[in-house]
Amino acid sequence: MNPIVHALVIGVPLLTFLMGGAALATWFERRFSGKMQTRWGPTVVGPAGLLQPVADALKMMQKEDIVPRAADRTLFNLAPLFPPFLVIASAAVIPFAATIDADGAVKATGVVADLDIGILWVMALAGLMVFPIWVAGWAANNKYTMLSGMRMVAQGISYEIPMVLCALVPVIFAGSLSLSDIVAYQAVHGWNALSLSPSAIVGAVAALLFFLASLAEANRIPFDIPEAESELIGGVMVEYTGIKFGIFMLAEYLHTIVASALTAVLFFGGPLGPGPAVLGLGWMLGKTLVLFVLIYWIRWSLYRFRSDQLMDLCWRILVPLSLVLVMLSALLVAGGFA
């Protein structure tokens, strides 16, 4: 198929899923937290408050667009454009479905661009994510946004290290950077984090660390120091109004969806599961949903770390542990156990 046609056929549904999912996520988060705290959450707009995201979007578009007088105008206006772009672009390499090809092997499909460097592409974009957020904090010229931006950069580059190292574990098992090859490996050898093979122990720990580090990258509680509202009002978004604020929030919700999907593909088999390959899309969405709910469950159960505790956890525990995991997985592959 022509690559442009292919990208449209897969990309348009993917974009719709991500944007619709992010809108529903705002509804879900409020509804879910409401249930957890014995209150109702949104109920008024639409059945069970389902149209609340539409109302919110309309409200944000009508709000006055204010740029602080002391702000760096160009950068202030440019910064919100990038976070959603980076998150959506990183979703382009994630396979969402599976087929069985002629010789009976399971093959991952439903991917916009099956790059050879798949996971590297995702990690590179995740590394770029700190810029627009830091720039937003700096350009607003406000001490709270500035502090938040500094925390964001510190947290972003620290947690990127265990995230990349843990993502290397499935890469070493599969011997490929491509996400569809990683799925194909799991089709033969069982899920990286959940199977009877001895490598699954390493895989499970790596999955846990990867998930924690992605929570930190997505700024979710217990790692949402950059927007700790009790100290910093609301992080880098403080000076943003209306739809620009909305775009930052959109990027955050998108990030939780993409992080769940990525964890599902790397460690839990992605579109693999019992039943015919047609069910692949269902399995993938189901696994993503479970991890997605887990993120929100954690967010509303725990409180946030202090800034120094956060760095301590990363550099003293997660980084050494993930280095050990990378070595162990290399040994397992060399010893023929994986």
């Binding site: 590179a124 580059i157 990127e160």
Partner: protein
Amino acid sequence: MTAFAVIAGIILASGLMVVRSENLVHSVLWLAVTLIATAVQFVLLNAPFLAGMQLMLYTGGIITLMLFGVMLTIRDEGVDIPNPSEGHLAGAGAALAFLVPTLYAIWGTPDFGPMVDPITAKDIGSSFLGPQLIAFEALSVLLLAAMIGAIVLVRRKDP
């Protein structure tokens, strides 16, 4: 070729902006544009792994470190750090002195023709652990030395 020329133009223009910007933060951000455009150039040259690494290490890592540097050097109130361009003549001289041998090297290089196979991560890995092993190990020793140096520099004098 057109794409190459456009990207090369972006690299040159943003590189110029890095030295011409009066604001240090703007300089750093223009440098990010330069590095991202270089990554795009690698994609055009059929080296996707190199492009990914360029994005991850240079744009994601080095620029972030520079932002850290900028933040840690803000001692006073206000965020405008003056970054004047001085010594235009000496700079032009140095640029010219660099340009001449570079042009000489470019003209001396044979035309390899269009690249057919992409350079994959496997190719790069096996060349690191094969023919280029000594250079690779020397580089890692260099990085280790830099790291130890940094630790020595920031260590407190009184234990």
